[in-house]
Amino acid sequence: MIIGFYTIDNLVSFLLQADKTYCFVTLFLSENWYYQFPAKWGVQNDAMIFQTRSRFITEKRKVKSMNILVCIKQVPESNKVEVDPVTGVLKRNGADSKMNPYDLYAIETALRIKEQEGGSICVLTMGPVQAEKVIREAFAMGADRGILISDRKFGGADVLATSYTISQGIKSAGDFDLILCGKQTTDGDTAQVGPEISEWLNIPCVSNVSRIVELDGNSIAVEMDMTDDIEITKIQFPCLLAVDKDIFMPRLPSYVKKQETKDREITVINFSNLKDQDEHHYGLNGSPTQVQRIFPPEVNAHREMWSGTAEKLTGQLFHKLQELKFI
């Protein structure tokens, strides 16, 4: 039976289980579907010929094993910092830290995709050695591999230098189909590092991803929350997505996984491992923005305090609302 003529591009894994005469042919029909059948093979006029009598030509959905990278960050446990109004010095209470809560949603998204499509999840963070802790936490949730980008030379980096350093780290770590980030961090609050990484890697990026609509081996369709509207967008891999809070409920770290992975090695990338060896591109030197000064937030100067019985207060409030023309 001849089912058609195909160029070699269509025939991919025929060598699997092939011997001198028989083999399995995999014939890709579209992005998502393929035929697989046993066939007899030979060479005629410099062309490979496959013959099959099989009635069991099966149509299967293509499953691509996804390579997913999740960018995470260690942030201070609390934002309780104060500026000494006289000296202008930053006072920080407590050195406790945790995983940026928004990153948990990105890790959970990666785990759901892996469960559906197969693949492997690598988590990456940039920070001091102590940031290893958040990688371990990601391992306990189910991540497979961890990378820590750490070097004193990266200190004082603003968004541009941070995103550049991370993109350099990603390039040296391998190829990824999908890069996931959280919405923003709780210490910087900028939500800018994700989109800037995508620019350095020259891949498309969608932020505010509130739902995954469809996923196949080549692309992903997502909903992007635009406040008044929802845009449904289809993006080809490789790409970067910044996911919203509540896209999936993050799972808790598992004790069993934590024990299993406690000796797992974490790849440490420092300045000497990066391709770009120009120190001007990293840390404070690679940062166009400079913090000139820090100061405590201003206190509203005009204020009146009212106290007394509830009756009196209610009366005062009522008159004030009238005076301000809200009643």
Partner: protein, 396 residues
């Protein structure tokens, strides 16, 4: 190249130096003081440590020519020609900044079939509106929009670019900043400009606990995003001033691996940002049912009910009603907070409100530092009484 150098001989006490660093970036190794990867180059150790113990060494940089960059540009945020109001607020701010340094104000708009709608911008003191009208720009796609924006910057060379911190702006601005390899400051609350055209950007940091003043001294253009309702909207001029400049870009520059399949309008709902009056429920509200009382007050004042983070987290109200840094930034004409203690994360999202009235039992609650009128009392006594008074008044 700037770096920190430790002169071990001048370090009098290693422990003192270690405790000086707020980021834990100093440690002792083999009896010497070393700086580790936690260093944020804040240079506190240089300023506060023994003289010369830690030195900040810098070599001169190539200085850019700032005179080559002229004009303040505003990104026009719109969907199908319907402008996001943050655009006008930014145009107002841009005019104010531009007047100080005698620069023009530009608006840059991308989309498809918008040649008509862009005229509206001419009512807001814009010198030139640059319009990229192409079917490939019909919907926001990060790569195509960045390409058009890059084209604009290359052509016009504005000294500063202001972008609204909307879902689109928060993606487009960083992508463009990385392409232009320049600085970008997110969510600025105050903008000013120096004589040498350096944009003074002030933004909250550490969840609003401190404010940081940021400059982009040696890069152009300077970029900043600003949230909706942070700047004042200017008045609309009766007549059209300035002119429209139609721009073209090679279509292949707009190609992308992203396809917008559909755009669905969300159910029209009342957003707390759009409301002139907000009644905010805080932790002082004891149970979910009591919110009904606050809702009633909000209705009587033709406003909306909003809440703080703890109330949202207990599931009593939806996340979209939460005010604060992790919620929405609001700027109503009137806000009445009920049982809200007033954490900085909360006040950072509402301190631009015109009139803030706070009700709290604790006279030391930090909310009273932000409120214009502070009522030390029980909301469970005041609110029902107030509701009755308003009803009586309306009935009369």
């Amino acid at each position: 190249m700037a770096k920190l150098v430790v002169n071990q001989k001048l370090v009098s006490s290693i422990q003192d130096m270690i405790s000086l660093c707020p980021f834990g970036a100093m440690e002792e190794k083999n009896g010497e003081l070393i700086i580790n990867a936690a260093c944020k180059m804040c240079r506190l150790c240089v300023k506060k440590g023994p003289k010369g113990a830690v030195e900040y060494v810098e070599e001169p940089r190539k200085i850019i020519d700032k005179d080559k960059w002229k004009g303040i540009a505003v990104y026009v945020d719109h969907i199908d020609g319907v402008m996001h109001p943050v655009t006008y607020e930014l145009l107002g701010k841009a005019k104010e900044l531009a007047a100080k340094i005698n620069h023009p104000v530009y608006a840059v708009m991308m989309g498809s079939g918008i040649t008509k709608q862009c005229h509206e911008l001419l009512h807001y003191n814009v010198d030139k509106v640059f319009v990229y009208d192409h079917e490939k720009l019909a919907r926001f796609i990060i790569e195509s929009y960045t390409a058009a924006f890059e084209d604009f910057v290359g052509r016009i060379k504005p000294t500063a670019i202001l972008v609204g911190a909307t879902p689109v702006g928060r993606q487009l601005a960083p992508r463009l900043a990385a392409r232009l390899q320049t600085g970008l400051t997110a969510d600025c609350t105050v903008l000013d400009i120096n004589e040498n055209t350096d944009l003074v950007q002030i933004r909250p940091a550490f969840g609003g606990n401190i404010m940081a003043q940021i400059l982009t001294p040696n890069h152009r253009p300077q970029m900043a995003t600003v949230r909706y309702k942070v700047m004042d909207a200017p008045r609309r001029n009766q007549e059209e001033l300035g002119k429209i400049v139609e721009c073209t870009i090679a279509p292949e520059k707009l190609s992308t691996n992203v396809k917008v399949l559909d755009i669905i309008a969300k159910e029209k709902e009342q957003f707390i940002e759009a409301s002139d009056v907000l009644v905010v429920a805080g932790r002082g509200v004891k149970k979910a049912e009591d919110l009904q009382m606050l809702k009633e007050l909000a209705d009587l004042l033709k406003g909306q009910l909003a809440c703080t983070r703890p109330v949202m987290e207990s599931g009593w109200l939806e996340a979209k009603r939460q005010v604060g840094l992790s919620g929405r930034t609001v700027r109503p004409k009137l806000m009445i907070t009920c049982g809200v203690s007033g954490s900085v994360q909360f006040t950072a999202g509402m301190n631009h409100s015109e009139q803030i009235i706070a009700i709290n039992k604790d006279e030391n609650a930090p909310i009273f530092k932000t409120a214009h009128y502070g009522l030390v009392g029980d909301l469970y006594e005041i609110i029902p009484a107030l509701i009755n008074q308003i009803k009586e008044r309306k009935g009369a």
